[in-house]
Amino acid sequence: MTGNNIQLDAQGRLKHFLTIEGIDRSLLFEILDYAESFAAVSERAVKKVPLLRGITIANLFFEPSTRTRTTFELAAKRLSADVLNLNILSSATKKGETLSDTLQTLEAMHCDMFIVRHANSGAAHFIASKVAPHIRVINGGDGRHSHPTQAMLDMFTIRKHKPDFTKLKVAIIGDVLHSRVARSEIHALSILGVPEIRVIGPRTLIPADISCLGAHAYYDMNEGLKDVDVVMMLRLQRERMCSALLPSEHEYFKRYGLDEKKLALAKADAIVMHPGPINRGIEIESSIADSERSVILQQVSHGIAVRMAIMAMTMGNKTTGSQVEETA
């Protein structure tokens, strides 16, 4: 009883992309495989396929974001869609317009897809439940709940380096409590068959019930990082520092920041990930962020391919990027 099935149509195909929870393993693999076909598109001289020509995609960002919005925009443009960027923070809602009214206005402009980012958990579900049946909704991050495209690009990146999910130990480090990225990653890893998912952080930042999602809590980096294949760092919001949650940046970095010494506890070939933007010297030592083990920039480029795949799939398109190239 999760209500997530509003993102699937009667045939089990992707209609909206709101959360990883409730999507089965084969569909997640289908997304990853489909994304592979788009990875090549970005490396060509002409970085465009005509899959979503004539489609209008509205970026509805109720919360500031640079990289997520930009990669969605790039992904949409590479699919030949028209993109409308709405920074709603500074427009309608400030004038007292309700979210429902904003949606109706955009529907009247004949948009076909909404990419939604919102500070409140459940916002993308709410919007998907309100829009006209032909409109697709992709969650670009809602509150602490879900950031499914980020999780998928992370899975895509992991698979590039570690092809068999069923043999992995993965650690997610940092502010799990407030993190939609962590929740979506945990769901994705668990559905894809990762046998050991760990979360590491101080008790103030790890929800007591995290085990209900299938992750094991560690409060000590030295224990938690032992023998892991993948190290996934989370961003720590500045406002969490010097609050009732954490005493100082210095103490946090000392206990939970990723440095050479701590990373040495992970497997020798462990990769280091971060959803960005990184806080050097708080979550991660600069030398590691820039090292060969860091796949942080790959995550960014994979984000475009993965988002292209998800946009095309929700619009009902199954033509692969390479097929388009052949017919073009």
């Binding site: 929870e21 429902s100 409140n120 509150g143 019930d209």
Partner: protein
């Protein structure tokens, strides 16, 4: 009007009556039970065979939204819904706009309730001025204006010194304090019970301790001040233990629970169902079981609707941007009867939790069928079942988490002071 209600199963927990027979009413009062008084010629007779005849229900908390939020509901609309639900007296909390912190607002509510000629309405006055938790409200004046208690509603009293003095002053005025216990810091803008569901949905969480810390603080202050305190809308099993301990020590405290918390848990919000956003939050299965056990063992004596009607826009937004509260007044009786079918309560206990117990807390002379008492009576068919259809609700608030639930138990007549205010 002389009225005879014949052949019903009369249940009157206050007088320990459970018998089949007739009830006689004259001049708005209960005249007799069982045998017809000599020379009594009814002007009207209600056949109550196969039905239960009990005191009119008393709801310790329902928001009527008047004055100030008439776009949500009105005293007329909500007392109509209450009357059709067997409720003859409603207590409404002071968080209206303006707040009930002056006799004028209380008088306005009495006036509008009298105009609607349905259920009786009894306001609770404010405990602190403007519910701000800073300075004391004029409790003596509010009591004189007819307020049956004082309360700070949902508004927190952060300053413990203010709470202490408010309780002392209420004790001086000999007025009951209806206290909603929530630590504002621990609530921390949360919207869902801290547990697996809030963790999964990423909803800001309200820990159990937001309630238990506040209950503990209040219990110690009750002990110190001797105030008469009624604990409102208890939601956790742990609070039941704290209250039971306090009562065992001889503290004269009472408590109620909202009907939704006896039937729903945090699992019910798991699809971001905003109709399940209520305060206190729906808690765990263990808490729900604990609340039912607390009712059965008498730690909690009253069940209230905690009715909060909203316009549809109030619930149409991402979960934590919506307004808390559920429209429940029309399900109060059937959902309480469900506790009998679930074998948590006896029928007498369930009726007592809706009549004699809340009457005692509010200081009413109703809630019983004693000879000479006001003839506030509810007659219902305990076997009649119906489906909750939001469009068919009489309340202006269609925001019910019980939509499409099957209810068993349907009110056929409601009498206030011997007048039939509702007839099916």
């Amino acid at each position: 009007m002389r009225l005879k209600i014949s052949n019903g199963r009369i249940i009157d927990p206050a007088n320990n009556i459970d018998q089949t027979g007739s009830l006689f009413i004259d001049k708005g009062k209960i005249l007799a039970i069982g045998r017809s008084p000599k020379g009594f010629k009814p002007q009207r007779e209600i056949n109550a065979s196969n039905k239960i005849v009990c005191p009119g229900l008393i709801d310790l908390c329902a928001r009527l939204r008047e004055p100030g939020e008439e776009y949500k509901a009105t005293i007329a609309s909500e007392t109509t819904a209450a009357a059709a639900s067997g409720i003859t007296s409603i207590c409404c909390p002071p968080d209206t706009i303006p707040v009930i912190d002056t006799p004028a607002v209380a008088e306005l509510i009495f006036q509008h309730a009298a105009n609607s000629q349905k259920s009786k309405v009894f306001p609770l006055g404010a405990l602190t001025h403007g519910l701000k938790g800073e300075t004391l409200a004029e409790m003596h004046a509010l009591k004189s204006a007819g307020c049956i208690g004082v309360s700070n509603a949902y508004a927190p009293i952060v300053d413990t010194e203010v709470l202490r003095r408010a309780l002392e002053y209420a004790a001086t005025c000999e007025i009951t304090v209806h206290l909603y216990c929530e630590d504002d810091y621990l609530r921390n803008n949360g919207v869902a019970h801290e547990g697996p569901v809030s963790t999964r949905l990423g909803l800001p969480a309200i820990p159990e301790t937001a309630e238990t810390v506040a209950v503990s603080r209040a219990l110690l202050l009750v002990e110190q001040t001797g105030a008469r305190v009624h604990f409102c809308r208890i939601s956790t099993a742990r609070s039941i233990e704290l209250l039971a301990e306090a009562r065992a020590r001889g503290l004269d405290v009472t408590a109620d629970v909202g009907i939704a918390h006896l039937h729903l848990t945090d699992m019910d919000i798991s699809s971001f169902n905003t109709d399940c956003y209520v305060l206190p939050p729906l808690r765990s299965q263990r808490d729900k079981d604990g609340l039912r056990a607390g009712l059965a063992n008498g730690t909690i004596t009253a069940i209230c609707s905690d009715h909060q009607p909203h316009e549809s826009d109030a619930k149409s937004a991402p979960f934590s941007m919506t307004e808390p509260g559920a429209s429940t007044i029309e399900m109060l009786l059937p959902l309480s009867l469900q506790l009998v079918r679930d074998k948590n309560l006896t029928l007498q206990q369930a009726v007592a939790a809706l009549t004699s117990a809340p009457a005692k807390i509010a200081g009413f002379d109703t809630g019983n069928l004693s000879i000479g008492s006001p003839a506030d009576v509810c007659i219902f068919d305990p076997e009649s079942s119906w489906i909750v259809e939001t469009d068919a609700l009489l309340s202006a608030g269609k925001n019910t988490p019980f939509a499409s639930w099957e209810m068993t138990g349907k009110v056929t007549h409601t009498l206030v002071d011997g007048n039939i205010i509702y007839k099916l």
